[in-house]
């Protein structure tokens, strides 16, 4: 099958990319299109249970097994309190499972130290939050470059890469604007660029359209669509079917259990 290795940002490869699997960080506008085949698993959950002690034992997830293939686009749908955010936090290495195994790119998260999980968050996953979670006093460019500062990418290089990513999401003329000077949609695109900065194995989006109007939400989903089209693995959490339908498959989750997996 035809595959390309595309690294359009600098001559330096951020991570070794296998010849079979190409990763492209390019949303709309880039001419290179890559199809990904014979995919390997980027994220797998095996019998994952997560319980919290909140005056009694609360089971947020119960025996969940799920795997995400490289380049796949998955939506997790469920009502609030169903455990979908917990699922995201576990994959993102913010939380650890009570039982079972969570693997991201073959790293068993339970076996990682706190520092190693922080490193994983800075290199293997990219979070996109409902409330954007940008640092208001930093410019768009510095917000995008921030994850790279924790993984030791030199300053000039990460600022250059941040500028290029912002251009890709259509904010090339907003590099030095601070989040309060940007619209909700623009802020979310800055957040997406930030999530892409470390070339993560998987993008984790938690209700990314929850804080913007319907029209803006659609445009953000278009960005995700383009990212998926260029080979990024995406896990999207939402409670709206309309949003979930942008994905290739929808994992229905209720009361901490996977109810159904629906191919779209």
């Amino acid at each position: 099958m035809l595959s390309f290795i595309v690294n359009s940002y600098s001559s330096r490869a951020y991570r070794t990319i296998g010849s079979v699997h190409a990763q492209v960080y390019t949303p709309a506008g880039r001419t290179t299109a890559v199809s990904v085949q014979g995919s390997e698993t980027v994220v797998s959950l095996d019998g994952v249970t997560k319980t919290y002690e909140l005056g009694g034992t609360v089971e947020a997830l119960s025996d969940v097994s799920l795997s995400l293939e490289e380049g796949s686009y998955t939506a997790v749908m469920g009502p609030s309190g169903s455990g979908k955010s917990t699922l995201l936090n576990l994959i993102g290495g913010l939380d650890t499972p009570t039982e079972g195994e969570v693997r991201v790119r073959n790293n068993d998260l339970a076996g990682l130290s706190e520092d190693e999980r922080a490193e994983l968050r800075g290199t293997e996953v990219g979070f996109v939050f409902q409330t954007f979670n940008l640092l208001p006093r930093l410019t768009a460019r510095k917000n995008v470059a921030m994850p790279l500062s924790f993984s030791g990418v030199p300053r000039d290089e990460r600022l250059e890469r941040a500028a290029s990513l912002l251009e890709d999401v259509g904010l090339g003329d907003r590099l030095d604007h601070r989040p309060p000077e940007l619209s909700g949609g623009q802020r979310q695109r800055v957040a997406i660029a930030r999530a892409l900065a470390p070339e993560p194995s998987v993008l984790l989006a938690d209700e990314p359209t929850g804080n913007v109007d319907t029209g803006t939400g659609e445009r953000i989903m278009d960005v995700f669509g383009d990212l998926s089209g260029s080979g990024n693995s995406i896990l999207l959490v939402t409670h709206e079917r309309r949003i979930a339908e942008h994905a290739d498959r929808i994992v229905h989750i209720r009361d901490g259990e996977v109810e159904d997996i629906e191919e779209v």
């Binding site: 936090n89 520092d115 006093r137 924790f150």
Partner: protein, 410 residues
Amino acid sequence: MDLRDAVGMAAGALWSQRLRSALTVLGIGLGTAAVVTFVTFGASLRADVVGQIDTSTANNIYLLSTPSDEEGFPERPQPVFTERDLSELRSIEGVDRVVPQGTVGISSITFSNSTLARQSVTATTPEAFSGISFRQGEPFESGTDEAVINRRAATVFEQNLSVGDEVSITRRSNETVDATVVGIVNRTSSQLPFQTFVQQPRFYLPTEPHYDAVVESPSLGVNQRAYPQVTAVADPSELSGTRERVRSYLNDSDASGLQPPGYSLSARTGGDIADGLEELINRLTRFVTGLAVISLFVGAVGIANIMLVSVTERTREIGIMKSVGARNRDVLLVFLIEAALLGAVGSLIALPIGVAGGWIATSYADIPLTLVPFWFGVAVLVGIAVGVVAGLYPAWRAARVDPIDALRRE
């Protein structure tokens, strides 16, 4: 995260809260400035005093009978050293000469038509002037009505006194001594080292015939003159040995038998007294600096307080940093640097303020300003250290923020 990035991040956070940062900096800055002020003042005082100590008195051994619990400046010494003590002291090895000094109670001194009310004049022997250069004239002779005065005394009357002038001294007994001024000096060899600080007018008369404090010598059983202060001038080559021999003599001197209970005899060299004085100033400086250090603590508490507020306010920011890969130590570093920056900037602005304070204090005390750059360096380091110490707990709290809780916050 490298140090430069962390500093940039910390500086950005402080800059985004400019007023608050400025006030915190002011707090620690004023504390450090107070320390710098007092240290500068102490150093200036010390330099001034040490500079004024008459080093030519280093070989003098001063014998005094003073209350045992009194330190520093001897006040109102008792007349306990008899003529027999003087002659015994003169025979001690290493003692070049022995100069007694006492006071003669008077009521006034008149020169020309102007009269000066005065409590006492000093009675001493011609040896007090041996080795002293005279501005005018020469030492008095024993058994005469000649007087020697110091420079200041020459100018206290309407007309300036000079050699050959006659002053009439009215004693307490109303008897009048008409003394002829034969010499004008800057100082005497028996003068205590710090008596040159304040130039008071001094009049010297020979002990014979003017000094009349008499006691019965316990060892000889006869009445003799007794003096409150005796100076033994030692051979410089064996000063400390001579001092020890003088001390051991004091144990069976007439003076030890005559002194009132609670008094003790001391034999201290000019160097001992100068050291004591220096130590006194150092102790004073340390005490006042200690007080100023309290304000440094206040500044440190200010930093700790504002950093804790900052950690609470920026919990979400910490969560964001952690979600994009910040390790605990990265967060710790950023917050520690913030606190250290507050301390460092505070102590940097403290230097000019503190030096200005020192300048004001020294001008007020009328002593020359002495700057000690070493202490400026210490002040800046202490400022940074105070910031770091004050920031430790807040930074530790920041590092331990749970990203999930933090991100859930609004």
